[in-house]
Symmetry: none
Subunit: 142 residues, 2 copies
DNA sequence: CTTTCTATGCAGCAAATTTGCATAACCTCA
DNA sequence: TGAGGTTATGCAAATTTGCTGCATAGAAAG
């Protein structure tokens, strides 16, 4: 019902307001704020909201895009889409450079890349490959 | 069900093909075409399709009348592809503009966009997001 | 006013979504 | 490599949403 939306809003608030390290913590904070939810639901919410865990804490999606996340290569953010895509957001004009860097790295789970102005579509073989691909790319370009 | 979509398509065809003066007529024509529906449903369909009654007959909505649903922004059509992609067809050369507009809107379920000449690939997080993303984009750009 | 036509509240049904539980998968650190 | 902590997910139950027909209110035409 409206419950989900409210919960997700609170999650964003909480993450923005204080350091949150685990979904357990988040679940407890939510409860204190009057919203009951299981870790399962929190996990799904985070996925849906695009919240990612960086350096041991959960970070807001837009914060990840701007702020500190920028790498020397112009890579701002990495996110999974569906089963076989990873989307890289880059600083304007640098998408091609990022794509080239990724191609050069020859990551085995990556099938191909396609760059626009500030976005790269990265095709991976399957769902399983997404996470490790994201990890490797992030490592590579940061 | 798929039934509704089929029925609405037939309604548009019928209205385009011959003069239709009442919902009763439409209901009967539909039945002859193998689609049963009550006047209630027909009424709701017409509302939803944007069909209006003018000078005693139902006429196609503006978009359908001139054969292209072009919006002010050059967006022609939106369609889902697979679980995590939405494809936007645009007027030639306007794909980038459409993509930028979509990016600016910051629709949360959209992960990234990639524009060609007349097509934009729009990556969404998951299947569930497609529907709402399409709705929001269409709303935004029409 | 009467007749004809269209819109809508309501209830039932079907489909889709959301959720918790249990547990598998994964990660970190020693 | 294994233990312990953390996160993801298959499944079934619960909940919500969407679509429809029926009955009827409301509007338009004459």
């Amino acid at each position: 019902m409206m419950e989900k939306e409210k919960r997700q809003q609170k999650i964003l608030n909480l993450i923005g307001a204080k350091r949150v390290g685990t979904q357990q913590e988040l679940t407890e904070s939510l409860l204190r704020a009057g919203v009951f939810a299981t870790q399962s639901s929190v996990s799904r919410d985070l996925e849906e909201l695009g919240v990612v865990k960086q350096r041991g804490r959960y970070v807001l999606p837009q914060a990840a895009r701007n702020g500190n996340g920028a790498s020397a290569h112009g890579l701002l953010n990495l996110e999974a889409a569906g089963d076989a895509l990873v989307i890289a957001k880059c600083e304007p004009g640098l998408a091609s450079a990022v794509a080239v860097a990724i191609d050069r790295a020859d990551v085995p789970e990556i099938v191909g890349t396609l760059a626009g102005e500030d976005t790269v579509f990265i095709a991976v073989r399957e769902k399983k490959a997404q996470r490790s691909a994201i990890k490797k790319i992030w490592e590579l370009l940061s």
